[in-house]
Symmetry: C2
């Protein structure tokens, strides 16, 4: 499916009918190219990769009759491409070509692959044609083997080779292919014996030359498909979410960015790559929420950072309690020095005190009494939040303003954004905005915080989001995990949706964590960090903080969303060492830096889950085994991949450096919640 | 995938990239429409139906946020549409609209359906929008139930209703919707109590009026998809293939069409709908094949009808032995009088004696010695056949000539063509030719005789062939039949590929028939006639003629392809009564006239196959049970669909009129090859 049109075009004559019947010139091309994979919605959306990754392409290619078909996969970079109306010219690099091969006789399925190297856009397509020379060569071989006279065939071949020489004249690849072809054409048609000339006809060098200069005048070209190439961090990264205001000396005032910067060495030591901050902008006072999400704030309650905007400014200002732009820049540069990247939050909504409410009332929806419509999910009301009206008559200016906010922060060195509730904004806006941002800077990463229905989540990923929050927090049993991650890693969505497995968020403290104690946090950490090349935790996770605001709620008690907080990072029962170790293992093992190779393995205990990942080069295989039961000892057998039934080998636990002598495929494991919740095992190199 | 382009367009700037970034005006539309089903290759090809059939459409439809989405399925006839460059204007009928409904909460999957009534082209598409009134109505209901003040909401609603009244002004549907809406808008905003006004807000009549006049200014319209509507005979028909030249007095001369017409009452009595004739054109003498496909013909051998063309003419002439055009017309009118339609063969190839060989040497491929390239499949040579060169420089004239041949016979009343080996001609040619023929006459049916690889067979069906020969002759075991017919009736191909199950052909006498005696013919007849709404036999089948030309061959001994033949239709062991009975049952039972409802049922004997078909209205259920073993008695139990475990009921054998008292789902059957090979059972009406 695809190009959707707006209502004004509905009356036009039928494009679909016209298209099918058009283009008689294309009808004389004999090769058919169908069902290119990967291809998202017929090319409407790009697939995604990072530099160095492979795109393995298959397609159905065939032609009428029994002639030999040839197909090449073409790919090229497109630099500087962005939005058609941007006026910025694209630089389209030359096509590279890879010969495709038939996957198996009779299938008509062809395969080829290419790699991508540069961040930005990349394109691929397939060109296929009926190859007269290859057909001729096959037939000469058959006829000669059958003892038939091929003298006329050799003359036909000479003509084909001579024609190719004509095409070769116009190439400049350093070799004189034209001369080489003409020489062979002469030989094929000279007066020596047929037996002497047949080997020339069947020669591999000639075949190769002829393929290089094949007659493609009637070639069929497929649609051009796109790859969005993001930087490596889009594929692999460990996120840490923190409230900088919690870095103050006590719970009575906001920490500043200078104070928050003192947390960075600890976060770096934990092995994280990205520090993600909730909104850092001025917080409104109208209808400000109090501690524990109460409707009335106390005089000292700081309010929710997502109620953006006050007299101090809006989306391009800093909450005064956090300090100045200089403080922010200090924080960012400290993070950078420690190998950490800062991610900011994009939350397209306003507090009633946001400057835009008075400057641009047209960007909000008004009620018959002149008031602005606050957010609601009837019967619930969120009076501290004004949503933007994406259906405003002035939507173009609104969109531009939101893009400008994003570019404002990009210009201040921020290259990663976590986007709040993108599924509640016009979806076409995101496609437009992310396109435009990438036009400016292809390194920018957008993480979609959309916890909604599957098709809507997938659409956001297709429309441009680099990464997506997932259902991981709500997938806790073995069956749930296997089903969900099989979907994520084996269906088409793997081509465009990169899950980022947050183990908790300020809004999601799953009951598994509330009731499972530290063992539950250990289990979920191991799962998140090994099931997902991208994963994250929200601060407090390392302390096994599991108190909910009330029974049945996934909200934290005394949530940082509504108050200043002072954490004791050394309090009893923290799991910082495990986190640091796991993040170290992730950095050392390429197997854990990709999602697609995930494979689940049999276990004989439903509380024990086992799965492996393999690096793209096949050299690194990591087997993770986790007990999902945080309360009881669990033991059982797991089936190790790639090993023979009686093979002896050593597995190496990358967490605690233990080594185990195992034999055969089924091996015993035992997990005691007081001692360990899982293994991350390095397997001997896979034999192929 | 789709629009393939020819090589000359390869250098153009990237369409795919440009498209994705274009059309900002479409981005403000909020509804997303994805994955419309059925849709063949993103709309590149039409689905197929016959008048009266339903098209059930589903799609993923959703929007951002929590607003209510509305979707309608639109369909319309397009009369007179054909080829863009034909100059013949299309008449596009107004859209009909059907409200789509959500299949299940949370799925974002919507469904709707329409029926088609007229032969020709039909189009469908989906329009979806975020419905502000429905959203408002839902929210007012929730808020009112929760005891909230909805006074402002009622004023908002009044505005929405008043806006709709403005749109209704411009409609002319016989009712004064505008007045009705204005009256309600006044009520919503008057000074009566809220409690009095809420029922007006939630009133169903208002909801219906508001849906009729919904604000679609920001609606999203999907691509337009196509339905090819063929006449009923495309979906349901019984074919009989015969060589008219075998209708002579003996085996020494060709029968004429006048003599062949005398066979028609017999064929009509057998219950067939279509009489298909191999090529009826003059047969070449150069390299003419002799009896039993020998390389040298005897002086009296008539040659293969597929070696078309002699001094007497080509594809628009009649083989002199068969008579004149008047004879053909007599045959056709006799057939018509008996309720039979005549199908001719289109075989795009020439004997060396065809007039075109000298008139249009450019339509053939030439060898270096000046000779024309004959057909070959190295090392095999077919010197009696010259294939056309579809890559000829003069291909446009060749295509036109072949179209003209087809139109020539259409002008002489032939509306059904069996097309010989279409998979060996440029595939785009067929799409072009069939389009053009349907431009002239939408009733024309083309049966594709392509026994080749699955994707190529499917492509021909997509490109326009009305029906397709299938692999049925080579699917003889229960597992083979279940697998193949499950594929044909449950995968996407059912939308465009209508199989025609020939039980034998002049080229295919399967060894199952060679070795199974009459019981084998009975089994294959029952299977073909009940598995396929379209099926056929080639004459001799009714005589259980099973002699092959040699062991291991599927060719008939003394094949009619190479000699005159005199059949004795009354010879011992014929199964004419069974054929007549089965064809009668097919005509009487709608269940057997459609393919899509096929369902296989369990049996406890692998030699016994059971399946049912149901008419689209659900009223007619026919259960077929066949023993696949032509040699031994087989018995066992079959599982009857739709009946309770202890239910008592009567099944009625439509072949021999026997009735059986059955109970529960599993029931006993027994087949003795000497007595019966299967049942066609009428089941009590399905309870729903």
């Amino acid at each position: 499916m695809t190009p959707t049109r707006n209502a004004s075009e509905i009356g036009n004559p039928s494009d679909a009918l016209a298209q099918s019947a058009s283009c008689p010139s294309a009808r004389e091309t004999r090769a058919i190219i169908e069902h290119i994979r990967p291809s998202i919605d017929g090319g409407r959306f790009p697939i995604k990769r990072t530099p160095g990754e492979i795109v393995a392409v298959t397609a159905d290619v065939f032609a009428d009759g029994h002639d030999v078909v040839a197909a090449v996969l073409r790919d090229r970079r497109v630099s500087g491409f962005g939005v058609r109306d941007s006026g910025i010219p694209s630089e389209i690099h030359p096509w590279r070509e890879t010969t495709m091969t038939l996957v198996a006789p009779g299938t008509d399925e062809w395969a080829g692959q290419f790699d991508v190297s540069a961040v930005g856009w990349h394109e691929y397509s397939i060109v296929a044609w009926v190859d007269r020379f290859q057909t001729w060569r096959r037939d000469v071989g058959i006829k000669w083997s059958a003892g038939q006279d091929v003298s006329l065939e050799l003359l036909e071949g000479a003509l084909l080779v001579r024609e190719a020489a004509g095409r070769a004249d116009h190439t400049a690849n350093g070799h004189d292919d034209a001369a080489a072809l003409l020489e062979r054409a002469d030989t094929l048609s000279d007066s020596t014996s047929i037996a002497d000339r047949v080997p020339v006809a069947l020669d591999d060098v000639l075949a190769s030359l002829m393929f290089t200069h094949a007659d493609r005048s009637r070639a069929t070209m497929s649609e051009v498909l796109r790859v969005r190439v993001d930087r490596e961090r889009a594929r692999f990264g460990s996120w840490y979410e923190m409230f900088p205001r919690s870095a103050g000396p006590d719970q009575n005032r906001s920490g500043t960015f200078r104070e928050a910067a003192r947390e960075l060495p600890r976060i770096a030591d934990l092995g994280f790559d990205i520090v993600y901050l909730p909104p850092i902008h001025p917080i409104g006072t109208s209808f400000r929420k109090g501690r524990n999400n109460t409707l009335v704030a106390g005089p000292d309650d700081p309010g929710s950072p997502w109620a953006i905007g006050s007299a101090a400014g809006g989306h391009t200002a800093i909450e005064p309690g956090l300090g100045t732009f200089e403080y922010v820049e200090w924080f960012r540069s400290e993070a950078e020095r420690l190998g950490l990247e800062v991610a900011l939050d994009l939350a397209w909504q306003c507090s009633p005190d946001h400057p835009w409410v008075t400057e641009h009332p047209e960007w909000f929806r008004h009620r018959p009494d002149g008031s602005i419509k606050y957010a609601e999910n009837p019967p619930k009301k969120y009076q501290d939040i004004y949503p933007f009206d994406f259906e405003s008559e002035d939507w173009r200016a609104l969109w531009q303003a939101l893009l400008d906010v994003t570019l404002f922060w990009i210009d201040r060195g921020v290259k990663i954004f976590r986007v709040d509730n993108p599924h509640t904004k016009t979806l076409g806006f995101w496609e437009w905005m992310i396109d435009h941002v990438h036009q400016r800077d292809g390194d920018v990463i957008f993480l979609s915080e959309a916890f909604t229905r599957p098709k809507l989540m997938r659409y956001l990923a297709k429309a441009g989001f680099t990464q997506s929050y997932s259902y991981f927090t709500w997938r806790n049993s073995k069956a749930e995990l296997v089903e969900y991650f099989t979907e994520l890693t084996t269906t088409e969505s793997r081509e465009y949706l990169r899950p980022n497995l947050f183990a908790n968020t300020p809004d999601i403290l799953h009951e598994y964590l509330q009731h499972g104690g530290c063992a539950a946090f250990e289990a979920r950490l191991l799962l998140a960090a090994t099931l997902g090349a991208n994963y994250g935790i929200y601060s407090g996770f390392e302390l096994c903080e599991g108190r909910a605001v009330k029974p049945g709620s996934e909200e934290y008690a005394d949530s940082e969303k509504y108050q200043y907080k002072k954490w004791d990072w050394d309090r009893t029962g923290h799991i910082s060492e495990l986190i640091a170790r796991v993040n170290h293992v992730r950095r050392a093992h390429a197997a854990l830096q990709f999602d697609r190779t995930l494979q689940f393995h049999d276990t004989d205990n439903p509380e024990i889950i086992a799965y492996s990942k393999t690096s793209p080069d096949g050299a690194d295989v990591v087997l993770t085994v986790v007990s999902l039961d945080p309360h009881h000892m669990q033991h059982g057998h797991i089936r190790v991949p790639y090993v023979g039934a009686d093979e002896a080998y050593t597995v190496h636990d990358l967490i605690d450096d233990n080594r185990y002598a195992w034999r055969g495929d089924w091996n015993y494991v035992r997990f005691d919640p007081d001692f360990r919740q899982g293994h991350i095992l390095w397997l001997p190199k896979r034999r192929t």
